[in-house]
Subunit: 112 residues, 2 copies
DNA sequence: AATAGATGATCCATTAATAGCGCATATTCA
DNA sequence: TGAATATGCGCTATTAATGGATCATCTATT
């Protein structure tokens, strides 16, 4: 299995990470917030915030989302109530879905 | 500074992570894909995929995005070309923005 | 131009994340 | 129901992520 470090990433995943980092940086600057300030508020180190803004795929998703939340970047283009609603809806749907999948070999789509 | 493990997380960040995990699980099942299959295709271990689907905030964002991409879940409601465009646009905007931010002074005002 | 401050990068110690098992349970399908 | 297999979870060794410090450079403001 590939080491976490040099993990091959699809273009989409890489781009999504990069974009998210950019959005955080933009939002932070627009709010005239210092990297150090954002780090402090998010409970992260300054270095980590810098890596987040660079789109480093190794950052913990919790850290990234927290930083994003603090500067007001909305994930899924939705506010908190909407997220809660979606979570609830999904819980119901997931309950209705098969709990385990019997390999019906669908062919891969790696090309995106 | 808080240890990465018990890092306090805002409701929004936590919900976003949970929702993302749910969506991955849903999409995986809908595609009749096994956890092991998804893990293999994403280059991750089975255990990690399970944590991703549970919304564990400690997972590397690269791993999460990769799994999400493979099952077709998109954080940003846009395809890859659009992401690339957004990244480019942001690069321009960021270039036009101040490169460092003057900390908002929280000086005590005792003059009134 | 001078200066205070922000950013970016590097290094190290600590700690957590991950892979890779194995095992029990749950679940799908014949 | 029985058989196959997917899932869930715990364990350990290894590896990477993180925090914290320092330093050099860049930038904004006076």
């Amino acid at each position: 299995m590939a080491k976490p470090a040099d993990r091959p990433q699809s273009r989409y995943a890489r781009d999504a990470g990069l974009l998210l980092g950019q959005l955080v940086r933009r939002a932070r600057i627009e709010r005239k917030m210092t990297v150090a300030e954002l780090a402090e508020r998010a409970g992260l180190s300054r270095g980590l915030v810098q890596r987040i803004e660079k789109g480093d795929p190794g950052c913990a998703i919790g850290a990234v989302f927290e930083a994003a939340a603090i500067v007001g970047v909305r994930l899924f283009d939705a506010g908190q109530p909407m997220l809660a609603g979606a979570i609830d809806a999904n819980r119901t749907i997931l309950a209705l879905m098969p709990r385990s999948v019997r390999a019906a070999r669908i062919e891969a789509r790696d090309d995106f």
